[in-house]
């Protein structure tokens, strides 16, 4: 569920970049003030461990297909949320650079979806209370699976939101939700079971690693309190934005629950994009960024008129010119490339 | 510089899981000596080495290096005096490039940048790894990794070199090069190994460990001639001392 640069807008990418950058420096401060020097090599090696385990295929019984793990919850259990968050961020950064998995602009989104959610939501609010201070194999199983499933559901939903607000994909919100959530239910289950059996194995072989006292000392009540405060602030911000949004359009919040009524939908997406266009104007980033209402199949007739009005009517001549020009540009690019290659070799 | 000696008196060590790895171990190693520590797997070699630079502290008894007891307060001094070369060089080469790795120790010791650079260059030349300085550690061969690990330790200018299985996983040529290199060092050397032929080459004195105690301690040749002791310790005479398989003469 890596988000890709090609599917997000600079506004969404930039916002999440800023959010994750803030979170990362907070986590870095926490890890540093922890004074547990041992964590420096441990985080590095565990990051490499999760990265490499993502490449291992686990056969899913009864299906013949195979799954693999993301590792967010696993890392949070082993390292505590702050160190785990930084570790996930490092994995995603290397993946974005070397494997173009996700992208550099989408990195903020990906760290948020696969790092923040499991480390700061699924782990402290689901795994910890479920497993408690006296872990047992059953509790570990229950805690890991629930945490992984909830984490992945939230992550998938976050992908949908990010894609939707970017407005690049024309997929209607509800269709995308229906597409993403069930798939990630299955993925979350597999992730949860693998996490559970690995943690179960460690608990059996080397329980001192799992016992909260021995390993996660930094996870006292204070850090949880901080998380709650952070979440509260986040909630305030989103709440504020949403209510402002709702007040400017009484039906503004309905987009999330409205069915497939095209007319309504179109109008509202316009509203959403208008909202972002306004923000964009305010931050004066690339002023002529073109927001275009996504149309909807059931409202095709109506949209025809609107979109043609919204879009500068293009005459065939212009299209031909664009096509011819593009081909020539491509040819030019090829020859300039070849030329530079020759020049560079000399 | 004259007394870089090592003294262990009645050292016991028990791991947290209850395994006793060292039992009443006492030994003295003098300045400039080259001593081999041999013994079967699980005889306590690595545990013993870990006591020499305060990675582990004895459960009972005392360790004394160059007149300083090994305790938490003296650790920074002890770790400057004792250079430890680990069994797996991958564990020791953690920095992104060879240069950075060798510079890690001197930088931590607080040397000025120019001095650090001079040291790094000089030790890399000593071990013959100068050309590798910008390479990442994972692009080195086993022998090269070993050489760089030694350089990283030498850069801190230790008086005592402690090595755990330095010839393990080396090809014959790399092994020979390493032995030649070690010959040139005047440091006090302590080498834990299964490579008894190297011991013959390098160390005048050998300590045989068995079940966490010293089974024998004496001149290398004498000990290697005593088949009884070797057998008891789970060892075998070095190949160079065994009868020639072709002509049956020793």
């Amino acid at each position: 569920m890596h988000m890709a640069d090609a599917l997000i807008s600079p506004v969404v990418g930039g916002t999440l970049w800023a959010a994750t950058a803030g979170l990362a420096s907070y986590a870095a401060k926490k890890v540093q003030s922890d004074m547990d020097e041992q964590k420096v090599p441990l985080m590095g090696v565990l990051g490499a461990f999760v990265f490499a385990s993502q490449m291992i295929n686990f056969t899913i019984p009864g299906t013949g297909s195979s799954g693999h793990i993301g590792g967010g919850v696993l890392l949070a259990i082993l390292l505590g949320p702050h160190a785990a968050f930084l570790t996930i961020a490092s994995i995603l950064t290397v993946q974005a650079l070397f494997f173009a998995d996700g992208g550099l602009l989408a990195l903020g989104c990906n760290i948020f979806n696969m790092g923040f959610i499991p480390c700061y939501i699924a782990y402290p609010f689901i795994y910890k209370p479920l497993v408690g201070t006296t872990p047992s194999q059953r509790r570990i199983m229950l805690g890991s699976i629930t945490a992984a499933v909830v984490g992945l559901q939230l992550g998938a939903f976050s992908v949908v939101l990010e894609t939707f607000f970017s407005g690049i994909s024309a997929l209607p919100f509800s269709t995308f939700v229906l597409l993403m959530q069930p798939i990630h239910l299955a993925i979350g289950l597999i992730e949860g079971i693998i996490t559970a059996v690995v943690i179960g194995f460690i608990y059996q072989e080397a329980p001192q690693i799992i016992q909260p006292k021995a390993f996660n000392q930094s996870l006292g009540a204070t850090s949880i309190k901080k998380v709650v405060i952070v979440l509260f602030i986040l909630a305030l911000i989103t709440g504020g934005a949403l209510s402002w949004f709702a007040s400017s359009n009484p039906d503004g919040l309905e987009w999330s629950i409205s069915g497939t009524n095209g007319e309504e939908k179109l109008q509202e997406t316009d509203e959403i994009h208008g909202f972002f266009a306004e923000i964009q104007e305010k931050v004066a980033f690339l002023p002529d960024y073109n927001f275009k209402a996504t149309s909807h199949p059931t409202a095709a007739e109506e949209t025809e008129a609107t979109s043609e009005a919204a879009w500068p009517a293009v005459d065939p001549g212009t299209s031909v010119a664009g096509l011819v020009g593009s081909v020539i540009t491509l040819i030019l690019a090829y020859f300039i490339g070849k030329g530079l290659q020759v020049a560079a070799k000399r | 510089m004259s007394h870089h000696t090592i003294d262990l008196t009645n050292v016991f060590y028990t791991y947290p899981d209850g395994t006793t790895a060292l039992r009443n171990l006492s030994l003295h190693i003098g300045h400039g000596e080259a001593v081999a520590i041999v013994g079967s797997n699980g005889s306590g070699k690595t545990t013993l080495l870990s006591h020499l630079n305060g990675v582990l502290f004895p459960t009972e008894g005392a360790v004394n290096i160059g007149g300083y007891p090994v305790v938490k307060e003296t650790l920074s001094h002890i770790r400057r005096t004792v250079g430890m070369i680990f069994q797996n060089p991958d564990d020791q080469l953690f920095m992104p490039t060879v240069y950075d790795d060798v510079a890690f120790g001197p930088l931590n010791l607080g040397y000025p940048p120019l001095e650090v650079e001079k040291r790094v260059m000089s030790v890399l030349k000593t071990v013959g790894a100068y050309a590798l300085k910008d390479r990442p550690p994972y692009r080195l061969s086993g022998g090269q990794k070993r050489a760089v690990a030694i350089a990283a330790v030498l850069a801190m200018d230790p008086a005592i070199l402690v090595m755990d299985e330095p010839t393990a996983a080396l090809d014959p040529l790399a092994r020979r090069k390493l032995i030649t290199l070690l010959h040139t060092f005047s440091h006090t050397k302590i080498i834990a190994t299964h490579d008894l032929d190297m011991v013959l080459d390098l160390c005048k004195r050998t300590i045989v460990l068995h079940n966490g105690t010293i089974l024998a301690d004496g001149p290398t040749l004498e000990i290697f001639r005593n088949k009884l002791i070797l057998e008891q310790a789970g060892l075998e005479q070095p190949f160079s001392m065994q009868n020639c398989p072709v002509c049956s003469k020793s």
């Binding site: 890709a4 590095g44 690049i168 879009w311 065939p316 031909v320 010119a321 540009t329 070799k345 | 990442p136």
Partner: protein, 270 residues
Amino acid sequence: MIKLKSTWLDLRTIDDLAAQNTFIHSLNSCTKLVTTLAFILFVTSFSNYEVTSLIPLLFYPVALMSLGNLPYKPIAKRLLLIAPFIVFIGLLNPIFDKAPIAKLGPFLITGGWLSFLSITIKLLLTVTSALILVATTGMNSICSAMAQIGVPKPIVIQILFMYRYLHVLLEEFLKTNQAYDLRSFKTTGIHYKAWGSLLGQLLLRTMDRAQRIYQAMLCRGFDGKVPLRSAASWTKKEYVYLLFCLFFFLFCRFINIPQTLGRLLTGGFQ
């Protein structure tokens, strides 16, 4: 296992490419990082229906690959591996967005098809530019650049350590997986009964390794701080490169070059 192996090989390929010595490689890593980020911002800032005006931006990856002596094949391979999911999402656009937008002779082009094309080109541009960045800079220099632009040091060190041991662990995992495959006779993956013990064993081994590394660090005077080499300083070359690239991006952003060019030519024919 195939994935493990190809990951390991890909890492090494990119590493080798980054060790070259060309004009692009010689540029300060910070300059390249900033330029790449700017490029991606420019590319993604184009609207959904923009196709022709994106095309001149191809000059950037093409020029860099030529000047940096990068082969097309591994980068194209990566692109093809990444593409399916995004292309799939993109292909849904023509289904949901049927508003006609342009006419090409007798054909009506819908918004969906235009935006699909646009996504594909954006994908091509963003993926190649990120890969070009590592293949001409290398991980270590990117990390120094990150430290220079103010990324907190613990994060930079974390990435460096992670990357360092990724090579070691991939090899180790490869061996374990090979050992598993040799005794399992089915090559579909790890049987669920072995999930916990296989990954658990690897995890315990990894944690032991972390302990040994920590000891090795302590033996060399580690006190919580890892000394990092700072990135090279900016020279005139870097400023010229950055300004030139930014100027080019801006030019492409605000002037539709193919359109202008095409109009000139087709206008000439009429």
